[in-house]
Assembly symmetry: C2
Homo-oligomer: 198 residues x 2
């Protein structure tokens, strides 16, 4: 039986569905990638994770490792590459796992999905998930990495102060008012009475 | 009994512990914030989430709503403000929930935590979690928001091509080689045989 960490493959797919909302190919393939990376971490290592895409893969990492976005152990660098690294959180030494295009030649549905060679409507999801299961680790590339020192230090937000515009706390180093009140908010907000606020 | 969405408070704390790795005050308080925001969304609304900090709060959103980082329904704008918005993913209309500093005056441990008024070692975590439970929604501020149109559109990564340096697929719009190979990688990588790669 195919396993991903402690889960049977089918069991993992149900877990993915409940968290991610659907059995996404990216979280399925990501499961094998995380499984492979974890198998290379020396026993007892406290590790952090780096994910090189926002698509799907962060959820495989969050489901299978102790690393989440909210606890700060998973950092996302959105390079649009389907790859992840796990590394010793103090020393920075670890492994990077990616889907190797050469190895994907044997798996046309996986290759078509990764390279977006056909529109999603033409994807045969059943075949795709089945190829992902059959391929398992065999389509993964693995390389040693050493995370640069500046990314190992936990960044403190520094002193917290009150924004004179919104009156909410924010990191003082961001300037005289918070970054949202500097115009970076992705929304227009209103007072509870419905007045324009932004 | 205090409830957070469908969970008893204690049950929610165990859920937080298993996902986030610890009963963090931010995920506990965040639970009430998400619960309040969800209660204001009209029945049946398909909603997305915006979180204004990377600290703790994204995990409350990921645990209690269908929105995760990996499925793209949760977006993080790291303003260092402890606030979240849920909004209709097509119309952009929704609510923003934040911790209101005025209302926190009655809850000194919560205020001290949010404004980082004392070092973590001096925090009385039991009192803090207990105050978070007792305060519940009462320390939250709520305001209507309308998310700007450009943030409602799903951003496609566009055409995928092969990087001539690392030979991995990446979004063609990023340039002639992928962003990691342009020097943005947070790590030094090696070939599997141990040769320097970056």
């Amino acid at each position: 039986m195919t396993k991903i960490c402690t889960y049977q493959f089918e069991e993992y797919l149900r877990f993915v569905e409940s968290f991610h909302g659907a059995v996404a190919p990216g979280v399925a393939a990501g499961g094998f990638m995380v499984d492979l990376a974890m198998s290379r971490m020396p026993e007892g290592t406290l590790f952090d994770a780096i994910c090189e895409t926002t698509a799907c893969l962060p959820d495989a990492i969050q489901l299978l490792t102790p690393c989440t976005v909210g606890n700060g152990w998973l950092k996302i660098f959105n390079f649009g590459r389907f790859a992840l690294s796990l590394y010793d959180k103090y020393k920075g030494e670890g492994v990077r796992v990616f889907l190797d295009p050469v190895k994907l030649e044997a798996w046309p549905e996986i290759k078509a999905w990764l390279f977006k060679l056909k529109p999603k409507s033409e994807q045969d999801k059943e075949v795709l998930i089945s190829q992902i299961e059959q391929a398992g680790h065999s389509v993964c590339g693995l390389q040693p990495v050493r995370v640069k020192a500046q990314y190992l230090e936990k960044k403190s937000r520094g002193r917290i102060t009150t924004c004179t515009v919104c009156h909410e706390p924010y990191p003082a180093r961001d300037g005289v008012v918070c970054r949202a009140c500097q115009g970076q908010a992705p929304y227009i907000s209103f007072t509870p009475s419905g007045q324009y606020w932004d």
